[in-house]
Amino acid sequence: MDYSQFLLMPQELGLLLVFLLVFIYDTFMPQRSQDKLPLFTTILFALFTIYSFVPCQMGHAFGGMFEANPATWVMKNILNLGVLLVLLQSIKWSNSDHVAVRRGEFFELLLLTLLGMYLMISSRHFLLFVIGLETASLPIAALAAFEKKYYESREAAAKYIFTAVFSSAIFMLGISFVYGMSGSLYFTDIATSIIGHKSALLIAAVAFVIAGVGFKLSLVPFHLWTADVYQGAPTAVTSYLSVISKGAAAFSFLVILVQVFGSAYADVWEWMLYALIVLTITLGNLFAVRQRNLKRFLAFSSISQAGYIMLGIIAVNTTGMASMMYYILVYIFSNLAAFGVIGVIERATGKVSMDDYNGLFRTNPWLAFTMMLAMFSLGGIPPFAGFFSKFFIFVGACQQGSVAIYVLVLIALVNTIISLYYYLLVVKAMFLRQDDCAIPYIDSHWTEELGLTVSVFGIILLGVASGVYAQFDAISESVKNIFALI
């Protein structure tokens, strides 16, 4: 019993501490100071974010069940940044009348799900992974049902929980097959014991595992819940779901595919992933084209973005890993900028349809401007960060070198045109169209403004400042052997 091993997980412990403090505040502080809870949480979390940037000890713990390495460390920090933005953007919303009574739970659940994601990222054992996954996904259902005022919120929660449980059943079925073949749940053990086999059982297992994690990532055809839930859930939750949860899932997906199946089964899962990427990008885009509800629209857009993220995995190389982390970081800033604007407008006017945004530029230039930057970044337009992340992830994929991968990248690139089309639709609504009854000027809260400003700076600077990517590259280079990357 070596409890000192817990010291290898300072980020988890820190987060737990934040959670506990918030919990205590929520439970024990008097009612009148409750409206300071969101700010309190945010500040606390900001401190924690800074703290977790402090380099910590790397290594295994719990017999290899838990691993802290530079990649997981940086990934968690990326998520922290995202969560911090989400928190900033939700302060004002969580104090609004109809959710104020539950705001404590909102923040607590948010932090707990984040903890679940930490576990997903760091776990090297399927049981721990499943627990992390469930921790990261089950409370989301509760969060989705947060806006009790709206029926859609409840429906979203119901759809989410059923598909989530179903997917976890499939996932665990897959794990049971893996277990049946290897006799262990430790990633490293599995990787060594399945070498040499190429059985139908393991193929089924890989497919089910991909399906299970693909659910979190909303890869087509495991994505169908996404749009409904994104649309129904409160905007803060949607933004959380679309970036943080996706980022964590993407990274852990990489870990599972590369660490568990990478050595022996690369050619199997790469083709599976190939098909999924094509489907995901294409169908996500096709669905997005006709959406008028912005949240639903961003849901489909995020589906296709997930496809792009997967391009970083398929090549199994350091560039891919670095560019995937970079992509996630950029994606967090871009998407949160978009959701931030949507959130502000929804909070003030309750409008989320693209048609309501007509003429927004005339009345709310800064919101429109931010939204436009977000759209451009998502669409991959230079000099915004999205361009760089897309380019790098394509480079990462192409590094593999086969013609098939080039074809895949070409498909992805052709899809960027479709995606550009619908991103421009938003820009068109805001800038090109004019409306006499456009949304009037919105006086946004300073926290929202701060959140948006940070996002905008992120969008603009992340690409131009090459240091960030260089850092990621160095990190993925340093974990090259751990992940058996090329």
Binding site: A158, A200, I203, M272, A275, L276, L283, L286, V289
Partner: protein, 664 residues
């Protein structure tokens, strides 16, 4: 006067153009006119000085070994295509260039002067656009001068384009009038089409010979046209052929087509009659005296090459002879005096072309046949005389039109009493063109006929016949304008001789037309710079004068006094008459080809294709994306159970397909 002054001859008109074009708007109209005339006067003086120096000066090396040399005064690079193929813009003086300087400057100056009156109303107030008019005249003069002194083929092409544009601008001077508008367009496009061939010709020729420069193409070391040089230039093509003909023959034929476009050879002549929509002085300058002979000039420039490529020369000969007749035939029935004159011009230029073409057959190649190049000389001589008397005729026509405000000869009749000076000047012009000695036309035309008879009796006879027709139609016009019946005065002003600015040029040109025939052309403008011994061939001269007199008599019989004979003749051969009057429907044919075939048959379908097929394809892509998006919306049915179903089937399919692929 040093030959390098030629640069001033070019530069002054250019300067005048820029000056009048840019600053003219701010000046009074009269002032611009006067400035224009003054500028041209200076140019003319210098041009005369240079040309006379060239022809008669001594000690400047123009004549060496008894050969008049081509002198390159100035030749800087303008555009380098490759290291060797460089376009230069320079000044080259040889007999024909010097002669052209005189022709161009004389006529241009006359026209400048004349226009002062012509372009004003009856009270002497210049009309609108006066500045523009003078600017364009200056531009034209510049371009034409640049053309004649060109040192290389490409420079000729450049200035071909330039004169084309100035012609376009001047024809369309009355741009509000649809007819002028249309005519200017037509002129430009038809000549442009010809220029395309010219361009192709240059491309081919320059590719094989590796040069544009006349110095390397035709001029020998003694500074005159040299067959040996031409032969080696042709030989540099290495006997390459295309479709059975040598590439150089193709090239030269193409170049001739370029010249034919400018010189209005059949079937590219159609623009010239329409070009009469421009102000009459412009017609005199551009479409009678100078620009239209650019084609002749071009062929003359490359004369040695054409001599070697006999095939191309034959084409020129046939085209020229046919055009001469064709245009003459049409000229016989035109009622619009300017058009009649225009067809007369076409016919006369065709004379020159034919003359050049027969020149090679008459044994012109001293080295080969011991011939003389008589046709060449005759052609250039005719070019010179024709410029004078045709300008005269046009300016007279302008004076008449200015007086009666119409181009139609049935509005004229009997003007002799009202406009005696004009009448006499016109008569002189007619006599000159009809080839009655001692007027200018006689001398040059006679040489042409001689040269034609050298080629063959048929050619001579044919050309003599055309010469007879010339006499007939010119006098037909003359009689119809000045006699026929008493003039009915419709307007307030009775027609009268025009002010001195217009009359003076008439008198000068008339005088020149009388005496120009005595210019010693055989000494000055021979193809190889040598003095050419000629003597009047009395049989040819006699017969041609006889034929001309017959023509004049016929015209006198028919048109001097009002009678119904012409009407009866017209009715007797109504089909022929109508066809000729409608210029044998060439315009309609062009109209059909351009509008029905090219516009309706090519442009419209292409535009449709572009909008509907090509663009439609891209729109279809977009629409297909939209439809696909709509079609797959059922997947997102909202039912959790179907979501799960798809999820499961997706996962199973992934597994199953992979199993099939990997394990089997």
């Amino acid at each position: 006067m040093p030959l390098s002054y030629t640069i001033a001859v070019i530069a002054i008109p250019l300067f005048m153009f820029l000056f009048l074009g840019l600053a003219g708007v701010k000046m009074s109209r009269k002032l611009t006119g006067v400035l224009g005339v003054l500028g041209m006067a200076v140019t003319t003086v210098i041009a005369y000085g240079v040309a006379l120096t060239y022809f008669f000066g001594t000690g400047q090396g123009q004549i060496a070994d008894g050969v008049r040399q081509a002198v390159t005064v100035f030749n800087p690079d303008w555009l380098s295509f490759t290291d060797t193929l460089v376009v230069r813009m320079g000044i080259l003086l040889d007999p024909i260039a010097a002669m052209m300087l005189i022709v161009v400057c004389t006529v241009s100056f006359m026209v400048h002067l004349y226009s002062l009156g012509y372009m004003s109303d009856h009270d002497g107030n210049p009309e609108e656009g006066f500045q523009r008019y003078y600017a364009f005249l200056a531009l034209f003069t510049f371009s034409m001068l640049g053309l004649v002194v060109a040192t290389n083929l490409f420079q000729i092409f450049v200035f071909f384009e330039m004169v084309g544009v100035s012609s376009y601008l001047l024809i369309g001077f009355y741009y509000s009038s649809p007819a002028a508008n249309h005519a200017s367009k037509k002129a430009f496009i038809v000549t442009r089409l010809a220029d395309l061939f010219f361009l192709l010709g240059i491309m081919i020729l320059s590719y094989y010979t590796g040069t544009f420069d006349f110095n390397q193409l035709v001029f020998g070391s003694n500074g005159a046209n040299d067959m040996a040089v031409a032969q080696s230039a042709i030989a540099s093509a290495g006997g390459a052929t295309f479709l059975g003909c040598s590439v150089t023959a193709w090239a030269l034929t193409f170049i001739f087509i370029g010249g034919a476009g400018k010189s209005a050879m059949y079937p590219l002549h159609i623009w010239l009659p329409d070009a009469m929509e421009g102000p009459t002085p412009v017609s005199a300058l551009i479409h009678a005296a100078t620009m239209v002979v650019a084609g002749v000039f071009l062929v003359a420039r490359l004369f040695p090459l054409y001599v070697i490529e006999q095939g191309a020369m034959e084409i020129i000969c046939v085209v020229g002879a046919f055009t001469a007749f064709y245009a003459a035939a049409i000229a016989c029935v035109q009622s619009d005096i300017k058009r009649a004159l225009a067809f007369s011009t076409i016919s006369q230029i065709a004379f020159m072309m034919t003359s050049l073409a027969v020149s090679s057959a008459d044994g012109a190649l001293i080295e080969i046949h011991g011939g003389t190049g008589l046709g060449y000389m005759a052609s250039m001589f005719h070019l010179f005389t024709h410029a004078m008397f045709k300008a005269l005729l046009f300016l007279c026509a302008g004076a008449i039109i200015h007086a009666v405000h119409s181009n139609e000869n049935d509005k004229m009749h009997g003007l002799h009493k009202f406009m005696p000076i004009t009448s006499i000047a016109f008569l002189i012009g007619c006599l000159a063109i009809a080839g009655i000695p001692p007027f200018a036309g006689f001398w040059s035309k006679d040489e042409i006929l001689v040269a034609a008879y050298h080629k063959g009796f048929f050619w001579g006879l044919w050309m003599s016949m055309v010469a007879g027709m010339t006499a007939f139609y010119m006098f037909r016009i003359y009689f119809l304008i000045f006699f026929w019946k008493k003039h009915e005065v419709h307007t307030h002003h009775a027609p009268k001789d025009q002010p001195w600015t217009m009359t003076l040029p008439l008198i000068i040109l008339a005088a020149v037309s009388v005496v120009a025939g005595f210019v010693p052309a055989h000494d000055l403008v021979t193809w190889n710079g040598h003095h050419l011994h000629t003597q009047l061939d009395w049989t040819v001269a006699g017969s041609s004068v006889a034929i001309a007199l017959v023509g004049i008599l016929l015209a006198y019989k028919l048109y001097f006094k009002e009678n119904d004979l012409p009407e009866r003749m017209k009715n007797a051969a109504s089909g022929l008459w109508t066809a000729a009057y409608h210029r044998f429907y060439m315009d309609e044919l062009y109209q059909f080809i351009t509008h029905k075939v090219i516009f309706q048959g090519i442009c419209v379908p292409i535009a449709w294709f572009d909008r509907h097929i090509i663009d439609g394809f891209f729109n279809m892509l977009a629409n297909a994306t939209g439809s696909a998006s709509f079609a797959i919306r059922r997947l997102q049915s909202g039912s959790v159970q179907s979501y799960v179903y798809i999820y499961l089937v997706g996962a199973l399919a992934l597994a199953a397909v992979t199993m099939v692929c990997v394990l089997i």
